[in-house]
């Protein structure tokens, strides 16, 4: 796999993004649980999935498009989004990417090519196909990448979009993030579910003549390697592609009300999972994409522990500043309530 060829610098920058997502999401959880009135509803964090989003976005160029879901915070940061306007958006401030109109479900950053974030399950797949259609009509070599969860395959609109993107050979990469796979199942095996009859998600796309891949979404090198190759082939007109990125759920991910078990991540846990809360140990050992990358970089001699911890400290600081930025930003005035209804 091409992933093994990533340079140390590239891997360092991937690690930085992954840690930045982790630390920013920790701030989000803390804001939601420490304040009554900042994030009052449910919300979804990307902890434990950082390698998938970062690896995929590493394959994108500045002009490419990206679409995402209710679990979008990490994707937007993976795409290069700044934690400050992301967190500001999540708590509804005017300095947020959507000026406080979108909130946790709908962070959009047009300047990064993040054209839409939908909280409707599967809502973005047709739109991503539409962006790909536009690329094809304009004849540019852009790529449209859409992230979605495995539940999307239960929605009809996904299949409609799948058929049309295959029929029209659209430059679309469909990244299905399946975050409920046991560690041993991330590379192979079937996916049993109580709500989906097909035991291989990719088979559905295969039936519509779409090339499919299964990737270990906990391994940023694998994801980046595969996506780089597929993005290249998409630009050459070989799309669309369907990828099932398999991940193992972070134990703190309790549906839409996540919990930081044992508090924010400590680097000691990465080096020695036995020092963490018992509920986290197995995940830290086998599945945490950040810990897996940190340990492998150190084992390979590409980085020292100290260098890794420096990156971590920098991202922690950045996330804390983002939190302060968001908290000190103004909320939209009621007088501005009628803005942005029509263009």
């Amino acid at each position: 796999m091409a992933g093994s060829e990533l340079s140390v610098d590239t891997l360092k920058s991937a690690l930085h993004r992954m840690m930045l997502i982790r630390r920013a999401e920790e701030q989000v959880i803390d804001l939601a649980t420490s304040f009554d009135d900042l994030i009052r509803g449910h919300y979804h964090v990307y902890i434990g999935q950082e390698a998938s989003g970062v690896g995929a976005c590493m394959a994108l160029g500045p002009d490419d498009y990206m679409f995402t879901t209710h679990r979008n915070h990490g994707h937007v940061i993976a795409r290069g989004g700044e934690p400050s306007p992301v967190i500001a958006e999540i708590i509804g401030r005017t300095t947020g990417y959507n000026k406080g109109r979108g909130g946790t479900f709908h962070v959009i950053a047009k300047h990064l090519g993040v054209l839409q974030t939908s909280a409707i399950v599967g809502g973005c797949v047709p739109m991503a196909a539409g962006a790909a259609f536009s690329i094809k009509k304009r004849g540019t070599d852009q790529v449209s990448l859409v992230f979605f969860g495995d539940g999307v395959l239960e929605e009809g609109a996904f299949h409609e979009a799948l058929n049309m993107s295959s029929l029209w050979k659209l430059p679309l990469i469909m990244m299905c993030e399946n975050n409920s796979v046991l560690p041993e199942g991330r590379r192979q095996g079937e996916y049993p579910s109580s709500s989906f009859a097909a035991t291989q998600l990719a088979d559905v796309a295969k039936a519509m003549n779409v090339e499919t891949h299964v990737v270990d979404g906990g391994d940023v090198r694998e994801v980046a390697g595969l996506l780089t190759e597929l993005a290249h082939r998409t630009r050459a007109g070989e799309g669309p592609f369907f990828i099932e990125s398999r991940m193992t759920r972070w134990p703190g991910n309790r549906g839409s009300f996540p919990e930081l078990i044992g508090g924010p991540h400590q680097m000691d846990w990465t080096w020695d999972p036995g020092t963490a809360d018992a509920r986290l140990q197995d995940w830290l050992t086998n599945s945490d994409p950040v810990s897996l990358l940190c340990r492998s970089l150190v084992e390979e001699g590409a980085m020292t522990r100290e260098e890794v911890e420096e990156i971590d400290a920098a991202t922690r600081k950045e996330a804390e500043e983002a939190r302060e930025f968001a908290l000190s930003s103004p909320t939209p005035s009621p007088e501005s309530a009628m803005d942005y209804i029509f263009a």
Binding site: G156, N163, S194, A197, V204, A207, M208
Partner: protein
């Protein structure tokens, strides 16, 4: 009829009569449409009669049937009263639906023909629901849809759920090669609609839809599978509508030679020829079959055109009453 092995010559003659009746009904519908006695958007299935008759034959009395926008034949084959059907098409109060449904929304509940629909693929979920309601009663639900419906989300949602819940449903795809005016090659990547079944583990067969006995054989197995509690199946019937998408559609999107080829495969001609070769039917008997069908249809036309229209008061009272 549980298996095609048991089919006698008399059975085959009966199957032929039913196809001929459907054809006679629809040809007269076209005529009435052009005379202004029937209005609306009317879709005839001339050329697809073998599927209708085979599917109806494979079902038992207690089983359910759901149709599409092109369902006259489905309902007649199921045993619906053609008088009430014709009256419905003519918008009369003595029609099955009091003139409120029309051609596209026929319901003949008395023969468990539960509904046609103007929504492409729209009855597939309804069929699943009816199957769910009777899951433990040993009943089977057959639902028709076309190749165009295979591109609707509801079709894929239904494949998943039917498989997940092992519902006693037979998905009958009438693949006539066109979604309205668009050939299959332009609306989907699959060669056969049945390919969508594979990921969900739904057994599927593709058959010559103009060969009544072949459809009947496949349907009988599918119905048995469902009745045994083994879950859904699909029977994809490759067929062709010899007329346009709706009455009045000049169908200029099709090549003359393509239509001519399919005329050669006309299911009525085929079965007639077979029966003649088996010396079960001669020219006179064939004419009699046709004449009897025409007479029944004429009775239906008289019944229909003699019917009254529903009053506005009765119509508004129907919304919740």
């Amino acid at each position: 009829m549980s298996s095609t092995m048991d089919i006698t010559t008399e059975d085959k003659l009966d199957l032929l009569r039913r196809m001929v009746l459907i054809r006679a009904f629809e040809e007269r519908v076209i005529d009435l449409y052009h005379r202004g006695d029937i209005a609306g958007l009317v879709h005839v299935g001339i050329g697809q009669e073998a599927v209708a008759v085979a599917v109806a034959t494979s079902l038992l009395e207690g089983d359910y049937l759901y149709g599409t926008h092109r369902s006259h034949g489905h309902f007649i084959a199921r045993g619906a009263d053609i008088n009430k059907m014709m009256a419905e098409l003519a918008g009369r109060a003595n029609g099955y639906c009091e003139g409120l449904g029309g051609s596209m929304h026929l319901v003949a509940a008395e023969v468990k023909a539960m509904g046609a629909t103007g929504i492409v693929g729209g009855t597939i979920p309804l069929a699943l629901g009816t199957a769910l309601a009777h899951r433990d009663a040993g009943l089977v639900v057959a639902v028709y849809f076309g190749d165009g419906a295979a591109n609707t989300g509801g079709f894929h949602e239904s494949l998943n759920i039917a498989a997940l819940w092992k519902l006693p449903v037979v998905l009958v795809c009438e693949n006539n090669g066109y979604a309205e005016f668009t050939p299959m090659s332009e609306h989907t990547v699959v060669e056969r609609v049945s390919e969508h079944c594979k990921p969900y583990g739904i057994p599927a067969r593709t058959v010559d839809g103009n060969d009544l006995l072949e459809v009947l054989e496949a349907m009988s197995r599918a119905v048995e599978h469902a009745r045994n509690g083994e879950g859904p199946t699909m029977v994809e019937c490759l067929t062709y509508r010899l007329r346009g998408h709706y009455i009045g559609d000049p169908a200029q999107y099709r090549q003359a030679n393509e239509v001519a080829e399919w005329r050669e495969k006309d299911p009525i001609e085929r079965l007639t020829k077979q029966l003649k070769s088996e010396r079960a039917l001669d020219e006179d008997a064939a004419s009699t079959v046709k004449r009897e069908a025409d007479e029944r249809v004429e009775d239906a036309v008289r019944f229909a055109l003699g019917g009254e229209y529903l009053s506005m008061d009765a119509m508004t009272a129907r919304v919740f009453g």
